[in-house]
Symmetry: C5
């Protein structure tokens, strides 16, 4: 979960439309896969030369080109030119800190969304930018890494091309977006566990580290919010059917996707509210602890200060202190002190301090 501006500043001064990958996954190779399907069959093949992508243009059926790894800038520029993408689109595909958005370029729609995942270290949430190009009869998807998030869609197509083959490229784009959003729920499952664990430990023993964890969760939530919130507008925009690339039948599915997105946003807001509430619990736990500590101190002091005073009195060296000579003086004083201590205890008990 990097800082919001860390990467952008590298690009200051470059002319607009300059493609430059600003992500961090440099080690992987850029791989292109082409999947062509219609109602009768589905064929998948890897692409070596970018020009192979051209072939589908005149064919019936839907073509899905999946691009994994974004650091081979030159090859991607080539692909962009082959597909006729606007330089700004290519720049945005490589600038992996985009907010979710959808832009209508007439012949194609450019859609950005964020896939969430767990880093290798476990808890931390990572985010991967997914770019979709939706044309009349093709979809191009760009992924930063090889998370395999779209494999489930690929398998569904390969297994049963008949069902999805009847629907157009817009349905494929919907299916990819739907898979991405459905995936959020898995992430939130884990997040919910962490939040509940935190809440437990917050009440049991409020420690400074708990506060740090709380704060980290809050920051993650802020980040998630920023990744998901604009999606709502994106999906609702697509659903309203402003673009002729989206067929009416797909509109129903997009409405469903919109519902899911609202569900995701609701969840984030709920978590945010819970985390806010937890800070209050934390602070009042501290307050309660302080109260308890102070009560102990006050009880001890209130009992022993008067007693110490009394024994001090009989430790004075005045020559004429008749009590000192009494035979029962010592036990009498001990008894008096026991009575005082007992009385104090009773007083505290009545005040519900002990």
């Amino acid at each position: 979960m990097v800082r919001p501006t860390q990467k952008r500043s590298r690009k200051a001064g470059l002319p607009p439309g300059t493609p430059m990958y600003i992500g961090e996954r440099k080690s992987e190779t850029t791989r292109l896969t082409l999947l062509h399907y219609d109602e009768h069959q589905a064929v998948e093949k890897p692409i070596e030369a970018v020009e192979e992508c051209q072939s589908f243009r005149e064919q019936p059926g839907v073509t899905w080109i999946n691009v994994t790894g974004l650091h081979e800038v030159e090859r991607l520029t080539q692909l962009g030119n082959t597909l006729g993408l606007h330089p700004l689109v290519l720049e945005d595909i490589l600038s992996t800190d985009q907010r979710p958005k959808s832009e209508d370029y007439g012949e194609y729609l450019y859609i950005v969304l964020k896939a969430l995942g767990h880093g290798d270290a476990g808890n931390e949430i990572t985010s991967e930018q997914i770019s979709l190009i939706l044309g009349r009869n093709f979809v191009v998807s760009f992924l930063e890494g090889d998370s395999g998030i779209f494999n489930v869609v690929k398998e569904r197509i390969l297994k049963n091309p008949a069902r999805i083959g009847k629907l157009g490229a817009d349905y494929l784009a919907y299916a990819l977006m739907d898979t991405t959003v459905d995936n959020y729920f898995t992430i939130f499952e884990n997040l919910g566990d962490r939040i509940e664990a935190l809440q437990e430990s917050l009440i049991a023993r409020p420690a400074p580290e708990t506060l740090r964890t709380l704060n980290n969760l809050k920051r993650e939530m802020l980040y998630l919010r920023k990744s998901v919130w604009p999606l709502r507008e994106v999906v609702s925009g697509l659903q309203r059917g402003d673009s002729p690339l989206i067929q009416k039948a797909t509109g129903l599915y997009l409405r469903d996707l919109y519902d899911h997105t609202i569900h995701v946003i609701d969840t984030i807001e709920t978590y945010r509210d819970m985390l806010s509430g937890m800070l209050d619990i934390y602070l009042s736990s501290l307050s309660i602890r302080l109260n308890e500590v102070m009560k102990v101190l006050t009880i001890i002091a209130t009992i022993f200060m008067p007693l110490s005073f009394i024994v001090g009195v009989y430790g004075m060296n005045f020559h004429y202190m008749p009590e000192l000579g009494w035979h029962w003086g010592y036990p009498a004083v001990l008894l008096a002190m026991a009575t005082i201590a007992g009385g104090m205890m009773l007083y505290f008990r009545r005040r519900k301090w002990i």
Copy 2:
């Protein structure tokens, strides 16, 4: 009151439109009841074979099919096909974590709302998803369990079919929604009692458990809010009469229902404000307690420290301490100390500490 994402993650990866019941009431049987009525009579009969539902299609009057229990997915799929429901509708009916919504599918409206109830354990608020399908001359209602929430409507129809028989299927749908919303008030009655009891105990003795109760109430309120808030838009959408399935006469009733919904939302917001105010009370109660404890400590210390010092002075073993030899030295010191203690008390009284 389960976590918001608990159930959804099970469905990640399935193709959209896959019906799968994600609720928890697996034990009950799915039961279908058909109620047909017109101005002259009302007949109720249980349905065994799903195809029996077909019969009403061509008949005059209104047909109400009530489905209780959602776990027999296959039978419900059959029912959905018989009625010509879109796969996404069926999926949503079974996905019992929907937000209230209304979707127009041309030939029918799909309406989701939430019924609230009390769990067996008593206080906890449970929520049940209610799905309504409103067609030209029929209503299908889907309930998760057998809470009997719609019995009052059924009895009203059976007793007096003349009144409701003149109005169409849209009025029946309204009546079911109205019953659900009216039921909220009973739930809120109980909630109000709990909130007031909490407020009492908050001021009387602020304990850590009170805070936990407060927090639980806040979470419940959050949950209620999420269940009710979208209803407002649903009802206002229906009332605006976008769909030809809603007659103009029913619009007046929906406006009334809209009023009730606003009333419910107002109530929730009021409770939320009250709960927020209670946290402030709680924290300041803690602060007041701390102040009191510290005052006791300070009073005790301020009185006894100087006294202990004085008796310490006359406990010193210097050979030449003339006071020690005086005959009235001891009583004089005692008197002096009593004067000091009294003066301190006066000082504290003037400062309103005691």
Copy 3:
């Protein structure tokens, strides 16, 4: 100031449109008064039989029927039927927990607003529901009790029918609403006094009861807000002139009324902000007090602990303690201790603790 849902739950399960008075003023009689006026004269008479209301229908001039007391449900139902009111209107008139609203029923407008008053006990703010039916040439007003809030309007008409007689029934409705809103200012006057008194006592001596008063005021403000806020929309709706029942000339007056309503809402918001600020003052007053208490404790302890230690030293029973034998030992020690105490005092004074 009752709980928001207390009354509604009694109605759960009843069919919509069932009239049932849910207020608490059962003891009073329902009284109907008819006031008919035109440019030349104004006549007032009490109504016994509900049918008498019919007479005005065909007459020129404006008729105002004032209904006081809402518990004689049957008589009111009769009146509603005579006037041709929709059952939902009658139900709403009797359900005295409505929010301010205005509903257009074609032939008449139904307007709900809230009159505020002081209970017998004094400070507590009470609220009374006022329903207005505005027809082409008549106004019917429904009041819960006999607060006499509309007497001033009645007298104005009786004294000078010429002025108001030129204006239509819509002006009368406006005049009634204006009187109700103007009355709010008197209530707020008193509320302002209470808030200022509270602020004084908050700074002077922050006590737990002050917090309770503060909280009660906040709740009242919440309640007032709910009673007044929707009025804004009501008046602005009427002013926009959607209904043919409102003449253009009256629009100017309604714009003025809208201004007053905004003024009222502004006042409520100002009070709310003031009350929020007062909680901060309260909490920081507590903090300041704690600081003061702790300073006293610390000063006392810091001065007397070292002194007690010194006298303890010379109270030890070692055989070889040369100071004990010195002739000036005792006064020297006293002097040393006085110096130490003085030094401490200086230190505290420099730190601005005393």
Copy 4:
């Protein structure tokens, strides 16, 4: 800075349109001045008889009637009638607690805004209601007192009638509004000084009075906000050119005025944010102070309690305490105690307490 409702309640019960001055500046005389100008010349003369105002009606050029002092209600009523003002306008001119607004009465526009100033006592911000009537070829301005805020405009006209004479009455109205808004910046200058002074003293020595000052500033800011915020809508309404009384050329100037108004509102919001931040500083300053006080107490107690215990041990009167007889016992104990005290000091230093 009076209470928001103080004055209004006096008017409850009066019929709408009753003119009544509710301000407090009763002592001044109502003075009318007429300034007539066109491209060639500008003439100013005081008006005695209200009818003199009529003369300008048919003349070319622009007439500005400036009214100072609002308590001679009868004379103002006369003026209103002469000018053909609606009774509600007259009432609003005299009700000096209006919010800024602009109302279109067809033949003239009625504009209300607030001039801010400093009271005689210095710091406190006072507010004066300014009413403008903009007709086809005249402007009437109503001021509560003789603050002379419009003198600068008058002198500009008298000195150089050529420039402003080319522009219409709407430009004059704009110039008056612009002068009023520009004047706000002078007030804010002073306010900024006070806020910064407060911030200084807040960190230096947080005293209860500082909190009171902070709270007063907050209330003033609330008041300013209420006086200025609606102005935005007023100016933007005028600029949109809904009224034929506003010429297109003046629209550009009004857009500039709109900018200034936004600037003023931004400033108020910034000050509000700063004041909110200052409360946090204040509370945490208190917290820091408490921490410091407690550290002193703890250090003192932690050092002297063990020492006092040790000297107590050797003050016991057991017959067989071998140490008491040792020759180096006394110095040894003193040394031990010094070591303990030194160790404690080291411990505190490592914990960064001293």
Copy 5:
């Protein structure tokens, strides 16, 4: 980072449209540079006489006049007249406390935005007003100082006029705005560093100065927000293409710029949220510290008070205290006290206090 109103008040009373430089960079000279380019070449030359600017009017290609330094008011007025600028535009160019805005004057657009930079002292963020005049075939840019922010655009044009020469003056205006916005990211990079450093030090050692730094950062953020937030509306307004001066092709680039602006605003909001969270951390750190201090005090007091009492008992001078005579009395008491101290320690350990 000056106070929001500091400069404006100097202008109160002047007639609208009076040009007056209110910035602080008086020392620099006003320099004008003209850059003319088309598809084939680009020529740059400094301008001495303002009239030289006229030449480009009839030429093909795009002319960019860059003005640096705004204090030579007369020369700028001359330039304004030459270009036919409205007096209000000139006044706004010189009033360097404008909010970002864009105003359509028919023949040209006037755009204001803010460039951010670092002051000489290092951390503090400075802001410079940038005014752009976009005409049919020219752009005039006004900068307060010589920050050289537009050099990168100039060099791009001089190096490769072919690319930018094909696009119109509107693209040049876009390029200047884009450069300004891209520059923000560099500023935010530094800001992010400071915020993170603060967060570190906040948890490690919460000192009053940290709070002051936190507060300064908050104020800067407020200032940034005010500088950037309106930009969003400006760019979206330009992009919507209301003005014929903006060509459709540039619209795509403006959409990209809009994206960047949203990105900037998101970043500011994220930082604001982080800073808010840090205050909570700060306050609870103080609370935790207080708790720790109080625990130390309580532990010390609770252990040594009973012990001091015991040794006090055996320091009493009663004649008949049998224990004093016992041979093992002294060691027995020492042992008893050690036991008590140990027990206390155990108790505290179990309560997790040590």
